[in-house]
Symmetry: C2
Subunit: 228 residues, 2 copies
Amino acid sequence: MSFYREQDKHYVAVDCIVFGFNEDGLKLLLIKRQMDPFKNHWSLMGGFVKESESIDDAAKRITLSLTGLEQVYLEQLYTFGDINRDPGGRIISVAYYALIKINDSFQEILENNGAHWISVNNIPPLIFDHEQMVDTALNKIRKRCRTQPIGFELLPEKFTIPQLQLLYEAILMHPLDKRNFRKKILEMNLLDKLNEKDRSSSKKGAFYYRFNPEKYKDFTLQGFSFEV
Amino acid sequence: MSFYREQDKHYVAVDCIVFGFNEDGLKLLLIKRQMDPFKNHWSLMGGFVKESESIDDAAKRITLSLTGLEQVYLEQLYTFGDINRDPGGRIISVAYYALIKINDSFQEILENNGAHWISVNNIPPLIFDHEQMVDTALNKIRKRCRTQPIGFELLPEKFTIPQLQLLYEAILMHPLDKRNFRKKILEMNLLDKLNEKDRSSSKKGAFYYRFNPEKYKDFTLQGFSFEV
DNA sequence: ACAAAAGTGTTGTGCGTACACCCATGC
DNA sequence: GCATGGGTGTACGCACAACACTTTTGT
């Protein structure tokens, strides 16, 4: 055991790339940093890992404090460990990405944290290596959305097929054929059609769907191939 | 800056999952641990990250000390951060996997380190969460070998198509059709055929190939789809 | 009546998959 | 001459990709 005590110890942080989606496209939750170095610069939400918590728990704690949400899709992304990545000190950062459903209920918490939804197409300069973290996260979800139903973490409970297609187009950054998209997604039997229409975006109205929890879970475990 | 100083610090380790391949199949480099806790139990090679080095550099240093090899394919896998993963203390471990070409030149170094090549089909119980690390790494290279030419990191400079196929079969753990395999791999133009045969495993002999460095690099960057 | 978005089928093509026989050589 | 592994070609089916018109309804 004494061998352990001779070793260097490090500050370990968690940084969270939080994605959301609404009618304006794919969004990222960014904050104005409240401390030096780089006070008032745009930054990802982060925090230090405590002795008494696992890294996963630290990531949960940090997203909870930022959004007030207990249950979010959260996944470890990559660990950034260059010596000088933070000019304020040698800090190892484990990046996580989160997918959350944007709604009004927690906008107040976000504002209190100085957090804002920023379009992924218009990301301002970020501190440290946070831009690299965002790029890594975007690449990850682009791959992931082809094999796992992560898209649905970002939509409200009830959503329409055109909405879902817009989400995929925003993630993949290219247009999809709506016939092929609808066919592919429906024949997975992942969605349950509701007897209700969303008329907010057209006169005809689009039927609402919601995902089937069992099928959803199956696909989360087994994956699928979504070559749209 | 003073805010940083109030934070907890952690031991951070790197553990390396080192893969090799020879005529007996896919192998893993394991060591008999030389210190407590779990002295003499099977373990991955690991070490602590120093204040003065990046995590990547720590991984390089550790694989170098284990194998004596300067240039190995090394990639970060995942960071394991449960509080009690190591009963000897709270240690965060960043796992890396390495792919190396087995040859005689460094067997002596391996022996000095108490390291042994163990078939992935016959892995003994490992300390801590090292079995989970190995599983994660195996899943990673199974996915990876379908989109990136990582297989070639594991073969000697000159190799035959049947050898390459055996490697893929070992990684994917199922047999492949040799006609389809050969067709697919050759029409990538990734391999250069040599005017020389390997007669060690058959009377007819199999032509040697080596990979084309430019094509290899292209595929490393752009990926391919290897749906064998 | 017209604008605007939702919804619907078919066809071609390329790719993966399955499959059986000849070749070269050492013994 | 025979045993052993190396090497070769084809036919089928499926899934992706491309494509245009009708429906609904609010204004």
